[in-house]
Symmetry: C2
Subunit: 160 residues, 2 copies
DNA sequence: CGCGGGTCGGTGACATGTCAACGATTGTCC
DNA sequence: GGACAATCGTTGACATGTCACCGACCCGCG
């Protein structure tokens, strides 16, 4: 086997820039949200789908799917948020294995007060730098990249 | 003040896709590196500039700047890597406040064995999906976004 | 029915990242 | 020289994320 194709200077710089920019972008959004509403990015990520769900309740499994998190991460985060009164857990009547997560009035207030500024921040820091055409191109690019990422899978999932 | 401009459907989908794809991409790269060489992404991030430095030594401050990390994060990570024998600390002769981080032979072996596959993975999962033109466009886009991100700064830094 | 594999949520141990604070040192200004 | 702010690295407390595992439960099949 021959020498692998190393990254060229431009590629290395792009990779570096991509990672650094993502990190800074997330850091800025997170910091702004925390000072603005006391919510972390993780809090917001869960409160958002809950606030749009019928009655402010979701089954834990469905909440996990809508944010793309693993179960343990979700469980830990819900525990922390429960301790702070943002959400509460309930039994799942249709499946005794499951559980439900419900937005409390405090959680509703929190997400309602945090959302407008967060959306504005995402615009300011991200979308305002993209033309409509660039948005389309970027979406296509992300689709291609995402499709090429190997899944964490049990062996049987790999053949589908 | 009127209703803020909410994200449209396409924008929301793009934002979602961007975050999900980044997360999955990083997860895949990290998992592959760990199974392949036992190094985490954080390990690799530090070993890479060290391996390119003169003599495999860098002042902690400079290492921190080259990866863009805060001092405490860097210090913790170096401590963990020191415990595993990948690097060692040394005194800084030119400035008694400072310290140096040196790549050990074990660390050198680790980065040398991890690098080829990692580079190949970055190609496979990322660069293979981008044309040269797209790389140029993306680099420009990232520059614009990065330039618009407010820095964490002491008040006096804000006016420069 | 009851066995057995899969699903679901939770837990504890640990790795990682952030924040505030400290002690030591350096450089600056008078 | 000496006060004083800034820099440097570290530490401890805590928040977050990952992993392996458990216990309860659902469902299909004999």
């Amino acid at each position: 086997m021959v020498e692998p194709r190393w990254l060229g200077e431009q590629e290395a710089a792009l990779w570096q820039a991509y990672r650094a920019t993502h990190r800074e972008l997330m850091r800025a959004l997170e910091a702004r949200m925390i000072t603005n509403s006391g919510l972390s990015g993780a809090d917001y990520a869960l409160l958002h789908p809950l606030s749009e769900a019928e009655g402010g309740v979701l089954r834990t499994r469905d909440l996990g799917r809508s944010v793309g998190w693993e179960r343990s991460r979700l469980s830990h985060q819900v525990s922390r948020m429960e301790k702070r009164g943002l959400v509460c857990r309930e039994e799942c009547t249709s499946d005794a294995r499951g559980s439900m997560v419900r937005l409390t009035p405090l959680g509703r207030t929190a997400i309602d007060s945090a959302a407008p500024d967060h959306v504005a921040a995402v615009r300011t820091y991200f979308f305002d730098h993209l033309t409509t055409e660039e948005q389309t191109q970027l979406a296509a690019l992300l689709d291609r990249v995402a499709a090429g990422i190997p899944m964490t899978c049990v062996p049987s999932d790999c053949e589908e």
